[in-house]
Subunit: 219 residues, 2 copies
């Protein structure tokens, strides 16, 4: 998703630039959170690390803990875009496997480092309630995306109760697997040992939706 880089800055320096600025702050904040803990990290420290005034930090983030949000969100961005690009005629297993191997081959170094930071933040969420909020917010985004995709596949509105229930169940299953895999990687498990992860995820999503989501759709 990040292949586009050069020649930006057109028109106003707003949306994209703002996003990148938030990401820069988030990287430094996450690094500090991981190194010293959340409580031991002050807004002033984050500001100094990223080379901005404290006031500017608060202009871009509602709270200290929310500084972790962009990085955490990056950790689920792959899943979000994978869901978004799921063609109706493919099964979830096939699509996930293909996208996963593509990520393994094509991911940039920055993407890998951000992913690693995201995993650390998810780990921190275990013990730091403040960070847990950010993680759950990201999961909430995944759930909404999931609702859209499921609604499309089932030919129902995204507000339909069954769709929402399926989306919640599927994204919850996805969350647990994410936490599990992330924890294992931090423990030192070789990421290659998770070659079957896409299949496992697909299977979990299929099961969590009672089999309603996973098969190819023929309209």
């Amino acid at each position: 998703m990040a292949g586009t880089a050069p020649t930006k800055g057109r028109g106003g320096m707003s949306d994209q630039r703002r996003h990148r600025l938030r990401l820069d702050v988030s990287r430094e904040a996450s690094r500090l959170f991981w190194a010293q803990g959340v409580d031991a990290t002050s807004g002033d420290q984050i500001a100094e690390a990223v080379g901005l005034s404290t006031r500017t930090i608060w202009r871009h983030f509602r709270s200290k803990e929310s500084c972790a949000e962009p990085i955490v969100m990056r950790g689920v961005e792959w899943e979000m875009s994978t869901l978004r690009s799921w063609p109706p005629q493919l099964s979830l297993e096939v699509h996930f496997a293909a996208e996963s191997s593509k990520f393994g081959r094509e991911a940039s170094d920055v993407e890998r480092m951000d992913t690693e930071l995201a995993i650390k933040m998810i780990r921190l969420a275990d013990t730091e309630p403040a960070i847990r909020t950010a993680w759950l917010m990201a999961c909430d985004q995944v759930e909404r995306e999931m609702a859209e995709i499921i609604a499309g596949r089932l030919g129902l509105p995204a507000e339909d109760l069954d769709v929402r229930v399926h989306a919640a169940a599927a994204s919850a299953a996805l969350r647990v697997l994410n936490e599990h895999i992330g924890a294992a990687i931090l423990e030192g498990t070789d990421p290659r040992d998770f070659a079957d992860a896409p299949a496992r995820i697909a299977r979990a999503v299929r099961a969590a939706t009672g089999g309603a989501v996973g098969d190819p759709v023929t309209t």
Copy 2:
């Protein structure tokens, strides 16, 4: 901690008293949150409403928003205890229906008022991120309880990955239905219109676990 000292005995606020105090504070705080919004409610206000000093409030709650936690937790306590009391030989549908009708008959006024407050807090969680944290924490508790129950039914340890995935999916489905029913009740829908709620919940849990959880268990 060397030697088994008389941990009870003298001094020390009993767990029960502490719990009741937190609940009292939570009732007032929730009432204020609902009436004026979270931001407009100060710690001093909560303290005055409950007749304690502000300092004491901070002794019993880590943060302002966490004052809502006990009430929100009460909103899921029924489900937790219902899950805990689920006999192996009953199907989920039958047990939930029985417990639900029992609650309708036997719930005290205080319980009903607390439940109403909890529903309001869950509603607030839609727009107030601070309260959403409390709601998601409560859902997390339900998920852990669910994992215990599922583990017992499936004869697996609660840490088993499949068990955790099933628990996450099931409790997420439960969460969405809770939010849906709560929102409808606040809109003025007659609670009697939700007579089929237990069946619906049971069905959703069964579906979310891929059918693995719901049937009677014969050991």
